[in-house]
Amino acid sequence: MPTWAWYKKNKTNKFIVMSDFDWLFFSEVLVGGLLAGVMYSLVAIGFVLVYKTSGVFNFAQGSMVLFAALTFVSLVERGVSFPLALMATFALMTLLGLTIERTVLRPLVNQPPITLFMATLGLSYIIEGGAQLLWGAQVHGLELGIDDTPLEISGMLISKFDLIAAGISAAMVALLTAFFRYTRIGLSFRAAADDTLAALTIGLKLPRIWGAVWAAAGLVSIVAGLLWGARLGVQFSLSLVVLKALPVLVLGGFDSILGVIIGGLLIGALEKVSEVYIGPFFGGGIETWFAYVIALAFLLIRPAGLFGQKLIERA
C-alpha cells in the first residue's frame, strides 16, 4: 500500500499523488482510528463520572482498570466461570470504590483539588502494587470469546473485535445516560454535580452519592479493563491506558460524557491517520505524544474545548 513516504521516495508528481491517493486504505485507517478512539473514551468516562460529581481528578482510574482486569483474568484462570468471575470482580470493585471513598476522600473533604489529585496518585500506587502483589506480575492472556478476524465492509477490512468493543462501549454509554436521566440515584448524582450545597440542603447524602459514583467508576473500569486487556494482554502496562485517556479528557472536557466520546473519536482518528501518513517522516513512534499535541493545539484555538462549560479559561 503506497504511503506518503513511498511517494516522496519515488518523486512522484503531486497531481498524480492526489489522483492516486488510496481512499480505501485511508478510510480503513480512519475507521480503525475511530474504533480505537472509542476505547480511549471508555477509560475517560470513568474519570468524568468521578470528576463531575465530586470534583476529584482521579488518577487512579488506570490502576482500577488494571486491578479489574487482573482480578477477572486470575479468577477465570483459577476455574471460576465467566459470569461468576464478572460478578465477583464487580463486587470487589464496588467494595474498592466504597473503601476509597470512606478512607481516602472523606477525610480529605474540602481540601484543594491538587491535594485530592495527589491522594489519587498515591492511591494508584497502592492499587497497582496491591493488584500485582495479590495476583502476580506476569502477563495474562485474556480471551473474551470474540474472534479478531477482519470483517470486510464495502471493501474495507475492519477488525471484528474493535467493532464489538465499540458496540459494548456504546451500550454502556446508553446505560449510563439512562441511569443519569431516569433513576433517582442518577438524578441525585447530577444534583450533587450541579450544586453541592443545594444538594446538601435538600437532604441528599453526599457521602453515599460519592460512594455510588466510585462504584460506578469501578464498573466502567471493568468494561475498559476487559476490552483493553483482551487487546493488550493483562499486565502492568494496562494501567498506562490512563495516559491515553488524558488528552481525550482535555479535549472533551473533564465534566462532559458526550465531550469525551467525541474527543475520543477525534483523537483516535487523528492519531491513527497521522501515525500512518505523518509518522514515517519522524521515524515513527509519535503516538506517545501526538494526542497531547492535538489536544493542546485545539485548546489554544478554542479554549472552551468541545463541550466543557463555556468559560473563557479552562479552570
Binding site: 480529605l108 496518585l121 492511591l123 500506587y125 497502592i126 502494587g129 479528557l249 479552562r314
Partner: protein, 342 residues
C-alpha cells in the same frame, strides 16, 4: 545588654541559623564522617532531588501551576550539558551545566505558554505532553546521545579549575555547592517583589491582574526559572550521581517522584523540598533493609518493588490527611513544642 529596651531575638529563632548550621555541618563535618556508599547512594541523589524539588516548588508551590513534566526538564538538562560539553571543546564544566539549565529554561518557557489559557488539571495534563515528547525525541534522534548505540553515555569527569571532583566525596561537594547557590538564590527570590508576584498569581489571578501584576511575564518567568533549576538538577543527576547520561531514568515516575517530594515536604517552602527529598531517598532503603530482615528470602525484588509502591502510596495519603502542609509544617509545630526554640 547594651540595648535592653529592645528584646533581643533568641539566637535559635533567627531564620538564618538553621540553614547556616546545616551548611556548616554539610561542608565541615559530613565529608569526614562516612564511607563512599553513603555519599553515592544517599547524599548526592538527596541533594539533586532536593534541588529539583526547589525548582518545582517555585512553579507549583509559589506560582500555583501544577507541572507533571519535571523529569523531562531534567532530561533536557542532562543531555544539553552532555552536548555542550562534547561539542564545544574547552568549555568549562560549570558553564555547560549552566547552559544546560538555560536550555531547559527556554523549553520551559515555550511549554509554559499554554498556562495562559489553561489552568489547574488542564494545564497539568498538558505538561505531560513535554514529558512524552522529550523522551521520544531523545531516544529517536541519535544526535542527542552522539549516536551511541545503546543510548547510554558515560558522563565526562568532573573537573573544575583543574581540581578533580571525581571521588565520592568530591561529587558530593560539587553537588552541594551548586545546590547551595541555587537554593540560596531561590530563597532570596521568593521574598522579592517577583516572589510576591508568584504568590499573587497563585492565590488570585484576577486580583493580581487588577493590582497590576504582569500575569504573562510572571508565569513565564516562573516556568523559566523553575525549568532552569530542574535542568541543572538533571545535569547533576547524570554527571554527579549516575555518571551516565540516559533518557530512561527521566520517565513519568521520576516526574511524580518530584511532585511527591514537594507535597510531602510542603508546598511553597524551600526547606520542605529538602525534607521531602530526604524522606523519598531514605525510605526505600529502610524498607528494603526492613523487608529482608523481617521476611528473609520471601522478600525478592519483585515483592520489594510492589510493597515499596504500596507503602509510598499509603504514606502520601496519610500525609495528605494528617498534615496537608507537609513535613515543613510538621517541623514548625514540633519547634513550637520545644521551649528553647519558641
Amino acid at each position: 545588654m547594651t540595648t535592653p529596651s529592645r528584646p533581643s531575638l533568641p539566637l535559635l529563632k533567627n531564620p538564618w541559623i538553621a540553614p547556616l548550621l546545616a551548611l556548616v555541618i554539610a561542608y565541615g563535618v559530613v565529608p569526614f564522617l562516612s564511607g563512599s556508599y553513603v555519599f553515592d547512594a544517599i547524599l548526592t541523589p538527596f541533594l539533586v532531588l532536593s534541588l529539583a524539588g526547589v525548582g518545582l516548588n517555585l512553579l507549583t508551590g509559589y506560582t500555583g501551576q501544577l507541572s507533571l513534566g519535571s523529569a523531562a526538564f531534567m532530561a533536557v538538562g542532562a543531555f544539553a550539558a552532555f552536548n555542550f560539553n562534547l561539542r564545544i571543546p574547552g568549555l568549562p564544566l560549570v558553564a555547560s551545566i549552566l547552559l544546560a539549565g538555560a536550555s531547559a529554561a527556554l523549553i520551559g518557557i515555550v511549554f509554559g505558554l499554554p498556562s495562559l489559557r489553561l489552568k489547574g488539571f488542564y494545564l497539568a495534563v498538558s505538561t505531560l505532553a513535554i514529558q512524552f515528547f522529550v523522551q521520544w525525541a531523545l531516544t529517536k534522534f541519535g544526535w542527542f546521545s552522539n549516536n551511541s548505540p545503546s543510548g547510554v553515555i558515560d558522563a565526562p569527569p568532573l573537573h573544575v579549575l583543574g581540581i578533580s571532583f571525581d571521588s565520592a566525596v568530591g561529587r558530593y561537594l560539587f553537588t552541594l555547592t551548586i545546590v547551595t547557590i541555587l537554593t540560596a538564590l531561590s530563597w532570596r527570590l521568593v521574598t522579592t517583589r517577583t516572589g510576591h508576584h508568584f504568590i499573587a498569581v497563585r492565590d488570585h489571578e484576577l486580583a493580581a491582574k487588577v493590582l497590576g501584576v504582569p500575569i504573562l511575564r510572571t508565569k513565564l518567568l516562573a516556568f523559566g526559572l523553575s525549568s532552569f533549576i530542574i535542568g541543572v538538577a538533571g545535569a547533576l543527576w547524570a554527571f554527579a550521581y549516575l555518571r551516565t547520561v540516559e533518557s530512561a531514568g527521566f520517565n513519568l515516575d521520576r516526574s511524580f517522584q518530584i511532585v511527591f517530594i514537594i507535597i510531602i515536604g510542603g508546598l511553597a517552602t524551600i526547606r520542605g523540598s529538602f525534607l521531602g527529598a530526604a524522606l523519598i531517598v531514605v525510605f526505600p532503603l529502610i524498607l528494603s533493609r526492613l523487608g529482608s530482615f523481617l521476611l528473609g528470602n520471601i522478600f525478592n525484588s519483585g515483592v520489594l518493588e510492589m510493597s515499596q509502591r504500596i507503602v509510598l502510596g499509603t504514606l502520601i495519603i496519610l500525609f495528605l490527611i494528617a498534615e496537608p502542609n507537609g513535613l515543613a509544617a510538621l517541623l514548625e509545630r514540633l519547634k513550637r513544642r520545644i521551649p528553647l526554640l519558641s
